[in-house]
Amino acid sequence: MTKMVTYPSGAIVPERDLGYTPVLEALHLGIDFGGLTAVDDFNLIVGKTEIAGLIGPNGAGKTTVFNLLTKVYQPTRGTILLDGQDTSKMTTVDANRAGIARTFQNIRLFNNLSVEDNVKVAMGKSYSYSTLGGIIRSPRYYRQEEEAHERALELLRIFDMQNLAETAAGNLPYGAQRRLEIIRALASRPKLLLLDEPAAGMNPVETQELMDNIIKIRDEFKIAVMLIEHDMKLVMGICEGIAVLNYGRIIAKGTPEQIKSNPEVIEAYLGKNREG
């Protein structure tokens, strides 16, 4: 298991990430919906190549945190630093360009586009030819489309999906759709990849494959991964740091071992022992 070390700021990151700026620093993040405080005082630091887990009971606010980090929601309070850059006032589009990409709990693919086109759409940063260049087919168009095609196939190979490149994304089986969402997110060259329940609906064999692939992605692209997941085998198996959320607040942070034996976490999941 990775050794976790403490930063001067008090943040805990994997030892290999020492000396790098943390990829994500969320400071006192909070959001209110009308009178309801959905998330409050959310503090989290994720190391440059860390695999972090965000867990908690249903309705704890995990997806809301993802929506805050990707700027789908505008935070009421607090700051988000992405690789040292303040993204708290940015739009979703700019936050993605700054280096954050995500998948969705309820799959959101471009259903009528082919698998390959789904991946190519996310490569916005790698093209520089204009609309007019596309219409008159400039030399740059041919060069960059060729590059995009190569890179899309390369990315699809991670999940062994290169043979499905021509299929419409909406016609893929459920598991393949989840994998395609991860590939699409990767295609936008993120520094931090957010996965919202990546193993939902997968069988144990597929989940094991997914775990191997998440580690492979981290090692190959040298990026941080943060995931929401209810499958504890996956969370405890690959996450180096875990944060537990309940009623919109972090109730515990630490390594998998620390979380497993934390009485507050056990209480949040299983309820209080009446006799204890």
Binding site: T70, V72, T91, T92, V93, N96, R97, A101, R102, F104, R108, L109, F110, N111, N112, L113, D117, N118, K120, V121, A122, G124, K125, Y127, Y129, T131, G133, G134, I135, I136, R137, Y141, Q144, E145, A148, E166, R184, A185, A187, S188
Partner: protein, 362 residues
């Protein structure tokens, strides 16, 4: 030789590119057929007079399909852009008459001008509306259509030796020597020099096909369709949805303006009342019947649905009833599950045969 056929197949007949090849072949075949029939004297003069408006409707139907089919935004006011294009072209052509005697050159300049003006209007409408999610564009374009019709209805424009004069609502033009009035309010324009030709329409269709197909098979086209399929996901991968939708809308408006220019310069008189929402709905019917996102289908349905009511004129008062019945009939037929199953079976058999051939060759 085998390499050449392979290259041709990959370039023109693989997957989604089939639609593009079919569109081009349809248009070229239709043009050649019409020219031959015209030279042979087998077309009535009434039918010949329908050809230029037909090409103009094909162009605007393809343009509308870009907005409705590919961008997923409902526009009920494309006749407005067509009107803007038509009257801009009439004004430009009228003003340039003494300076550019060459009709082809004047037509090209008028079309470019019309495209510019209507794309400007497209941007003015698109910028505030496309920021919103939902069907607001439908309502705003419907209103725009009416506003444009009313504005053109009240413009009086003419020139004399001293320069151009323009007045609104009432004719206050005070023209001196060498006076020419171009727009006369509700009467519109008359005495237009007819410079549109069937060949010009044919070339405009080819340009439209080139623009739309090249657009949708480039990065911007993928972005346009991605924004249609899932707005939130598109934003999450760094696509500025408003800008992309605006680009599609402006390009569509520019093409609609070109179609209007072609249409307007085909008649010696042109009234603003022509470009009301009835025309918008008619073009929308062409697009929906041809298939959203299906350009070859749009071309076919435009030809059938434009020529059909014209050929039904002998039925007099019953004409539009028959037209409506035919329309409903086509809708029912194309959505009939039995026909869909048959179509699927046939296409499956063809594909199987092609695969067997490939296997035998290898």
């Amino acid at each position: 030789m085998a390499k050449v056929t392979e290259l041709l197949k990959n370039r023109f007949f693989s997957g989604k590119k089939v639609n593009r090849t079919v569109s081009y072949l349809l248009v070229i075949f239709g043009y050649v057929l019409m020219i031959i029939l015209m030279k042979a004297g087998m077309l009535t003069s009434h039918f010949t007079s329908l050809l230029v408006p037909l090409t103009s409707y094909i162009v605007i139907a393809i343009a509308l399909n870009l907005t409705v089919g590919f961008s997923g935004e409902l526009s009920l006011g494309h006749a407005g852009f067509m009107g803007v294009g038509a009257f801009s072209a009439v004004i430009i052509s009228g003003l340039l008459l003494p300076y550019v005697p060459n009709t082809t050159l004047r037509l090209i300049i008028a079309m470019l001008g019309a495209a510019l003006v209507s794309s400007l209007f497209g941007a003015i409408i698109g910028i505030p509306v496309l920021k919103l999610e939902g069907d607001y564009l439908a309502i705003v374009t419907l209103a725009f259509n009416q506003i444009i019709k009313t504005i053109i209805n009240s413009i009086y424009l003419g020139y004399d030796n001293n320069g151009i004069q323009i007045s609104f609502v009432k004719n206050k033009l005070n023209l001196g020597e060498g006076a020419v009035t171009i727009l006369k309010g509700p009467i519109g324009a008359n005495g237009i020099k007819r410079i549109s030709t069937f060949t010009a329409g044919f070339i405009l269709i080819l340009i439209t096909l080139l623009v739309v197909y090249n657009l949708i098979y480039s990065r911007k086209g993928r972005d346009i369709m991605a924004c249609r399929d899932n707005r939130i996901a598109a934003e999450s991968v760094g696509i500025n949805v408003t800008n992309i939708k605006l680009e599609a809308f402006v390009i569509s408006a520019a093409l609609a303006g070109c179609a209007g220019a072609l249409y307007g310069l085909n008649y010696s008189t042109l009234t603003p009342a022509k470009f009301d929402y009835n025309l918008s709905i008619m073009i929308l019917v062409y697009v929906v019947l041809g298939g959203l996102g299906n350009i070859a289908g749009t071309i076919i349905s435009t030809v059938i649905l434009y020529i059909l009511p014209e050929q039904l004129r002998f039925l007099q008062d019953y004409r539009m009833i028959i037209y409506a019945v035919v329309l409903i009939g086509i809708m029912l037929l194309t959505n009939n599950s039995w026909f869909k199953v048959q179509y699927y079976k046939i296409s499956k058999r063809i594909r199987k045969k092609m695969r067997e051939k490939k296997g035998a060759a290898a």
